[in-house]
Symmetry: C2
C-alpha cells in the first residue's frame, strides 16, 4: 500500500494487473475465468445477478443470516422469483433442503448461498450442495467473501459456478476490491440474461482483463496491495493459509467451551468466524467494548437481532496462534471482571492443547 501510486494506462500497471488476475486464479485453484471489480464484495454479488439472470427467473436462496438476507434483497431488487430456504440464526441450510427444492422446481436457474455466513459463524456444506446442483440446469453462486482462504473450496471439483471474494478478508488488505471466478456453465447464462447493467459488466471485464486492464479506472493502490498479498499467499501456500484458519477455529471453539460459554453455531466447526453466546445476563457489547478499551483489539458484536447476544472472533488472514493466545487470555480477564466465573488460563490451555496436538504445523502467516 505504501508503494507510490502508478498510472493505470501504462505497461507497468498492465503487467501488475495481469499478474494479480493470474495469481488470484492460482490461489483460488480454479481453471475458471477470474474477474476483478473496484467495489466492495456486495458489488460482485450485484454483478452476478444483474449479468447472469433475467427478471422472473426462478432461483433458490439459502438464507441463514444477515448476508443470506442480502441475497434475498438482491433477488428482490432485480425481480427474480426467489424461493427462500431460511434457517434460524446460528443454523444452516442443508444440502438435502437444496436438493428437495430443486426437485420441486426443475426450472430453477440459480442457487445462492454463503460459504461462511459471517453474521453467525455458520458454514454451509457447499461441496454437497454443488455436486447436487451440478446435475441440474441451475448455476451455483457462492458468496465466499470470508470463506475464501479460511475453508477448503474446490471451485472446479464441487461445481461452484460463481465464487465471490473480497480484498479485505483472507487476503489481508483494505476493502475496496471484489472478485469472482465464473464457470463456463455460468458464462452461458450471460448470453441470454436480460437484466440491465453497466458498471458491472462481466463480459466487458473479461475482455479488459485479458488485455491487462480493467473496464473502468481501477483502484490502483488496492491492486498493487493485492498483487503483493497474492505473492505472499502463493509463497505461503493457500492450503497452509486455510489450515491455519481451520486450526485457529478449532482452538477458539475449544477455548470458549472450556470457559463454559456456548457456541452459537456448534454445527459449523470450520467457519472463518466463531460466534459465541454471551454468558447469561451479560451484554455481548460489554465484551466487545472491553476488548477495545483494555487491549485495543477488535472483536465483533452480533448483527441485527443478534446484537448484544453474541460476540464473534475472526480467524482469517494475519491471525495466528500468538494472536489467539492473547485474545483468549483477554477474554478470560474480561469475563472474570464482569462476574462470569473463570479460572485464569483455562481457555488458553485449551488452545495450547489444539496447537500441540498437530504434528506438522502449517506454515503460519507471521511476517
Amino acid at each position: 500500500m505504501m508503494a507510490s501510486d502508478i498510472h493505470h494506462r501504462t505497461e507497468d500497471f498492465r503487467k501488475i494487473y495481469r499478474s494479480a488476475l493470474s495469481d488470484l486464479k492460482e490461489v483460488m485453484g480454479t481453471s475458471h475465468d477470474v474477474l476483478l471489480f473496484a467495489a466492495s464484495g456486495t458489488g460482485a454479488m450485484d454483478a452476478t445477478v444483474s449479468n447472469l439472470f433475467s427478471k422472473g427467473d426462478k432461483v433458490i436462496v439459502c438464507c441463514a443470516g444477515k448476508f443470506g438476507e442480502r441475497w434475498v434483497d438482491i433477488a428482490k431488487a432485480y425481480g427474480l422469483d426467489a424461493t427462500v430456504l431460511s434457517a434460524p440464526y446460528g443454523e444452516v441450510i442443508t444440502p438435502a433442503q437444496v436438493e428437495a427444492a430443486l426437485a420441486q422446481e426443475p426450472a430453477t436457474k440459480g442457487v445462492f448461498v454463503q460459504a461462511s455466513e459471517t453474521s453467525t459463524g455458520a458454514a454451509h456444506d457447499v461441496e454437497a450442495m454443488g455436486r447436487a446442483i451440478a446435475r441440474t440446469g441451475a448455476i451455483f453462486v457462492v458468496d465466499a467473501i470470508t470463506g475464501l482462504g479460511t475453508m477448503p473450496l474446490d471451485i472446479d471439483g464441487w461445481g461452484l459456478d460463481v465464487l465471490i471474494g473480497g480484498s479485505q478478508k483472507a487476503f489481508m488488505i483494505p476493502p475496496g476490491l471484489a472478485f469472482m471466478s465464473i464457470s463456463p456453465k455460468a458464462w452461458k447464462f450471460s448470453e441470454t440474461a436480460t437484466l440491465p447493467h453497466f458498471y458491472f459488466n462481466l463480459k466487458k471485464e473479461k475482455k479488459s482483463g485479458d488485455a491487462g486492464e480493467s473496464s473502468w479506472t481501477p483502484a490502483t493502490s488496492l491492486i498493487l496491495a493485492l498483487a503483493e498479498a497474492l505473492r505472499y499467499v502463493k509463497q505461503l501456500g493457500m492450503p497452509n493459509l486455510i489450515e491455519n484458519a481451520q486450526l485457529l477455529a478449532r482452538g477458539t471453539r475449544a477455548a470458549v467451551q472450556a470457559l463454559g460459554l456456548e457456541l452459537f453455531s456448534p454445527g459449523s466447526p470450520g467457519s472463518s468466524v466463531t460466534a459465541v453466546k454471551a454468558p447469561a445476563g451479560m451484554d455481548s457489547g460489554v465484551i466487545v467494548k472491553e476488548f477495545r478499551n483494555r487491549f485495543g483489539a477488535i472483536i465483533a458484536n452480533g448483527q441485527g437481532s443478534m446484537k448484544g447476544q453474541i460476540f464473534r472472533i475472526a480467524h482469517l488472514g494475519y491471525f495466528d496462534f500468538a494472536d489467539l493466545f492473547a485474545v483468549i487470555a483477554g477474554l478470560e480477564i474480561i469475563l472474570h471482571a464482569n462476574g462470569h466465573p473463570v479460572k485464569f488460563g483455562t481457555g488458553v490451555a485449551a488452545v495450547e492443547e489444539i496447537y500441540s496436538s498437530v504434528a506438522v504445523k502449517p506454515k503460519t502467516v507471521s511476517v
Copy 2:
C-alpha cells in the same frame, strides 16, 4: 494512505466518514446531499441512471468525446430513449443546442454532460446549460470527475442537479472512490424511477451516510486518504485550487502555441486538461514515450481515434507552476530531438509571462 487501517463499524470510523461527507459538501460548495461510493467514477454515472430514471425515459446526451460516449452507452444499457447531441472531438455542445433539443422534446427528463471532457480537453458551458434546464422538468447530470476542483462549478446556483466526482483527480488520492451531490429536484426522480439496482442505491446510501456509515463495506484506506485530502483542500481553499488549475491551463496553452503547436480544443480555455495536436508527421505516442523515458513523467496520448494524433497535459491537484516549467522544458527538448523546430526556452517563457501577469498568486498546492 499510510495510516493503519481501521475497522469500518467503529465510532472512530463513523466520525471520519461523517467528516469526509461534510467536508466534501463544503468544498463542493453545495447545500445538496453528498453521497460516497466504493467504485470508480463510472459507478456513480451508472448509479445516477439506474436510480433516477425508468426504461424509455426521454433524455438528452451531450457527447463530445470518449466520456460523452460513456453516457450514451449507459443510457443504452438501461433502455433510455436518448437524443444524442454530438460534437466532433475537440469541439463542444453549445447551450443553444441543448435549449433547442429541450424545446423540441418538452417531456425530456434528463440532460447528461461532461463538465470537462478529459479525452479532448473540451469544457462545456454548464452554467448556461444548467440555467436553461432549470426552467424545465428535466434534471441536469454533470460528470465533473475531472472538472471538480479545476473549474468553477456553482452547483446550487447553476442548477447542477447531480454532480459526479472521483477521488483520483483534483483530490489527489488514488482511484476507487466516487461521489455525487444530488439536488431536491433529482431526489424527487428517485421516487418514481423503476430501473432495478442494488449495489448503487442512492436512498440507502443517504440514510447510511446520515448514520456515519456506508451501505456496504467502505474502501476504508481511501476514505482515510480522502478525509486527509479534504482537510488540506479546505485549508488551501477550493477557489485557490481552482484558480491554480486555471492558471496552469492558461500557461500550458500559451506555451504550446508559442512552440508552434496547435490546440485541439481552442474553444475550451479553462479545462482540466490541455489537448495538443502533434506536429505534422510526428506520432503523439513518441512524445508520450519520451516524456516517460527521459523524464519519468506521464502525459497522456489521445484515446480511441485520437491516439497518435494528440497528447494531453493535465493540470489538477498537485500540479504546480514548478511542474509546468519542467513539463514545457521537457516538451521543448523532445520536440527538438524529433525534428520539430524549437528555440529552447520559448515555451517556458510563455508560462513565465502568464505567471508574472498575475498580481496575486493563488496559494499553490506545494507541500
